[in-house]
Amino acid sequence: MTDNAQQSLSVINVGLASFADTINETGGTAVHVDWRPPAGGDVNVARALAGLVNNERIDSANRTAFENYLTAQPILKGIGRAGDVIPGMGERMILHSGPPINWDNVCGPVYGAIIGAILFEGWADNENTGKELLRSGEVTIAPCHHHATVGPMAGITSPSMPVWMVSDADGGNQAFTNLNEGLGKVLRFGANSPEVIERLRWMQDTLANVLGAAISSSGGIDIKTIMAQALYMGDEVHNRNAASTGLLLKQLVPHALRTGLPADDVAQAIEFISGNDHFFLNVSMAACKSMLDAAHNVPNSSMVTAMARNGVEFGIRVSGCGDQWFTTLAPVVDGLYFPSYSIDDAAPDLGDSAITETAGLGGFAMAAAPAIVQFVGGTPADAIRRSREMQPITIGRNTAFTIPALDFGATAAGIDVRKVVDTGIQPIINTGIAHKDAGVGQIGAGITRAPMACFTQALMKLSETPTG
């Protein structure tokens, strides 16, 4: 008689844990899956998902998209006037963050910022006249993402505003973003008082000049290198940008001093940047947008290329699904609130800045930024755990971005719609929280998760194409 107990059996167990115990007790090897119904329990999505598992059509598309994302090399090229440089923007358009929305459905901060932009442009001199321009359609609004642009919070960008211009080194795509105004009463949180407009004008006249001249003198600044260094210095380049702002400033200062612009202008610009630890955020976002646009529009790819919120809806875009958005109501973030504010005061999640998480940074790189884990109510161990938790839902890792606390492991990047739906692990996002009323500003910060409904919709769309 043969002794086939000597053979081994390796089993993956889905369901009753005791079955795995039996296998392990009797000489086999079993790994028990911490299973829960996929897709939040939607049986139809679970079935559609099963058809897309280990699917070569999608897998090879994802390899292409992910490779395009990895090899992108966004360079900070200069400063331009939004209306002149942003494709398809025109002279009477205002860009906003997140998926498309009608102007009369927007949340408080976005509405305040739109009015602010109209005042800044001089199209109207009060709110009511401004509103009339929107109602008549004379002024239109459109998502930043539809115009190669991203913006934090309200994301409001109007034609006369200065914008960063980012280009892929190989001349591929271009990405744009407005300049960060700092904290407090600022347009991106919906403030539109005279001091806000005044600051915007100074940024338009003075800051933009200094930056434009300095960058032009530098010949272009490699953004990924700054990001990679900043990850070693405590930034995750979404909610903490202290190190990256310093690194950028370090590169700009010598060039700024050589521009020949009035010394006071240069000093004001340097002072402004030094006083704003989030100054690099917008640059980080544009770099992420550039890397992800490189991965966009690969047919059949299930790689997420944008996550963005407009204060009403949360939306994602997927490489293989073209310009389609998959949206659901934006969550209100249960985060840490500044004194005297609570969740009742919060606007739903807002801004294009989740582009950083989409690119494997921000919440995905939380382990790099222990300084802000307390700010969002956690410990450094939580931060490490969160970064590791993202690995199973991503296509790969970006070796350009590594983290000391992960034993110099690379960040998880390239969110795969299928893996999110299958594991139930929702992408983590570090986010600031805006007051629901225009102009109050930031009232807290926290960690939120991208809603599952966006991913299940995208999955159903991907499954419409016959498998092969």
Binding site: M1, T2, N4, A5, Q7, L9, S10, V11, I12, N13, V14, G15, L16, F19, T22, T26, G27, T29, A30, V31, H32, V33, D34, W35, P37, P38, V43, A46, R47, L49, A50, G51, V53, N54, N55, T71, Q73, D222, K224, T225, Q229, Y232, A381, I384, R385, R388, E389, P392, R397, T399, A400, A405, L406, D407, F408, G409, A410, D422, T423, I425
Partner: protein, 518 residues
């Protein structure tokens, strides 16, 4: 001597980690010099001075440049591989001291952890079981679906998909299997051996494998197919696949097939494959006419016990074959002694089974010996109980049937339903014999005979009690230990025989005798 350079474009590492990587590379066997640096002008100058590279390396300052000099190309290549792995970093391992492993959340994550996995065992809710099985098949794995409530359309689709990639689907509703000696689901610990089983019935598989074990032989593989596999719609796909697996399995010398009677054309297909498989095949299609099955190489068995005996004899090389030979070991005097205390009104059997196949086999054998019996799921519709909660005449019930388990745990796990029914039947003045099974093994109740003994004791009051006749399906190697289980039943006053066929035949003889008058 050999020198290789490799450029990793746009990969940034700080100098400390690069120095560590460099020194690690230098220490590898056959390596003379090694360097991993950011390709700045200054760094490239250093390498040129060291004679490691030519000045013409096409690297940019943002690129990471690896240069390795070694004795031969093999060691250089190995070191390059090592360098890239170090730069990529290992898996996202936690920092030192962090022990916070993530449990895998889906089959793919589990497969990362167990790359040599062969099988996915699925017992999640039936609504999702089909999708999980499909994932497993698409990942190139065999599947055992323990879950029920998977539609027959999904079953067919899964089995077609499995055929495309030459995979096996056991189930849905496959309660038990033994693969490479490892019990899966509800299974017994049996000796290894050369008898392979493919069964559409879970308890049928358990009974035959346990009897083979108790007769001194062993099991190579015991595969399940799920109860619907031999329907016309599913076409016996899993049984045929299982047959082929066992036909090609070197350790398997004898094959046993177990099922309720298949759809006619399916039976034909299965028997044709079986007859041509090159190994003797014992076939127990419960209730099928033996002569219809008879072919070259095929040995029809009338009961599960008979199937086990045939397989054991064939395994020993005996081809002079026995007929069905169930001997329960009680003589006429002992039977008379058993029935003498019964009051005259007690003349019927009440079979209270936890195993569906046992109940089915009991109905078949009893019909032959004492005529048709009533049931919630009878052999023919006219014997269906009007109220399944109340027995009439000779009645045999599968208490594990959906009719009884809806909203309740299965009686193999939770004895309460059967306990109540035992008391009810014992109080019925017409009950002469309570016929029962006890199924041991992994997955079952930790002490099913103890529970049954408690029920028997609770049911016994005075001298007008019914006779309890039962058996234990299990082995002494099972966690519950078959001998211990049998002893508990005997101590409680039950008549314990070796298996279902014997228990049913003893019962049949008792009932027949009572009908003839004591």
């Amino acid at each position: 001597m050999q020198t290789e350079t490799k450029i990793l474009p746009n990969v940034y590492r700080d100098s400390v980690s690069l120095m560590q990587i460099s020194s690690k590379l230098c220490s590898l066997p056959g390596i003379i010099q090694a360097s991993a640096i950011m390709a700045t002008e200054a760094n490239i100058d250093l390498l040129v001075e060291a004679g490691l590279i030519e000045i013409t390396v096409p690297a940019q300052p943002n690129d990471l440049l690896i240069t390795i000099q070694g004795d031969n190309s093999k060691s250089v290549e190995a070191a390059l591989g090592e360098a890239e792995a170090s730069i990529e970093g290992e898996k996202l391992t936690p920092a030192s001291g962090e022990e916070d492993a993530f449990a895998p959340r889906n089959i793919e994550m589990a497969l990362d952890e167990l790359p040599d996995a062969q099988l996915v065992l699925i017992s999640c809710p039936g609504d999702y079981a089909g999708a999980e099985a499909e994932k497993a098949l698409r990942l190139g794995l065999d599947v055992m679906i323990f879950s029920d409530n998977v539609s027959i359309e999904d079953e067919v689709a899964l089995k077609k998909l499995a055929a495309d990639s030459d995979r096996l689907v056991m189930g849905p509703d496959c309660g038990t299997a033994i693969m490479n000696g490892i019990p899966l689901g509800f299974a017994n610990v049996v000796s290894p051996g050369d008898i392979g089983i493919v069964a559409a019935s879970g308890t049928g598989l358990q009974q035959v494998s346990c009897l083979v074990d108790s007769l001194g032989c062993g099991i190579s593989q015991a595969l399940g197919t799920g109860g619907r596999d031999l329907s016309a719609q599913v076409g016996g796909r899993s049984m045929i696949k299982g047959l082929n697996i066992l036909a090609n399995d070197e350790t398997t010398a004898v094959i046993v097939l177990i099922s309720k009677p298949p759809a006619q054309e399916v039976a034909e297909n299965v028997l044709t494959v079986a007859a041509a498989c090159g190994k003797p095949v014992v076939v127990n299609f419960l209730g099928a006419e033996p002569d219809v099955m008879r072919r070259e190489n095929i040995y029809p068995a009338e009961t599960l016990e008979h199937a086990a005996h045939l397989a054991v004899e064939l395994s020993k090389g005996n081809k002079a074959l026995l007929n069905d030979l169930s001997r329960y070991g009680l003589g006429e005097p002992e039977i008379n002694e058993l029935i003498s205390p019964l009051s005259d009104s007690r003349k019927f059997v009440r079979g209270l089974y936890s195993g569906g196949t046992f109940s089915y086999e009991a109905m078949l054998l009893l019909e032959y010996e004492i005529g048709p019996v009533n049931s919630a799921s009878p052999l023919s519709p006219e014997h269906k109980l009007k109220d399944i909660w109340s027995s009439t005449g000779n009645t045999v019930l599968d208490l594990g049937d959906d009719n009884f388990t809806r909203g309740r745990p299965h009686p193999m796990i939770d004895h309460r339903l059967r306990h109540d029914r035992i008391l009810q039947e014992a109080e019925d003045p017409e009950t002469a014999v309570i016929l029962f099974d006890v199924v041991a093994g992994y997955g079952s109740h930790p002490d099913p005979a103890g529970e049954m003994a408690a029920s028997i004791s609770a049911a016994v009051n005075g001298s007008y009690n019914p006779i309890f006749v039962g058996f234990v399906c299990g082995t002494d190697a099972d966690p519950q230990n078959r001998s211990d289980q049998e002893r508990k039943l005997r101590d409680a006053g039950a008549v314990v025989v070796s298996n279902n066929a014997q228990a049913v035949r003893l019962t049949g003889d008792i009932i027949a005798k009572l009908g003839d008058g004591k």
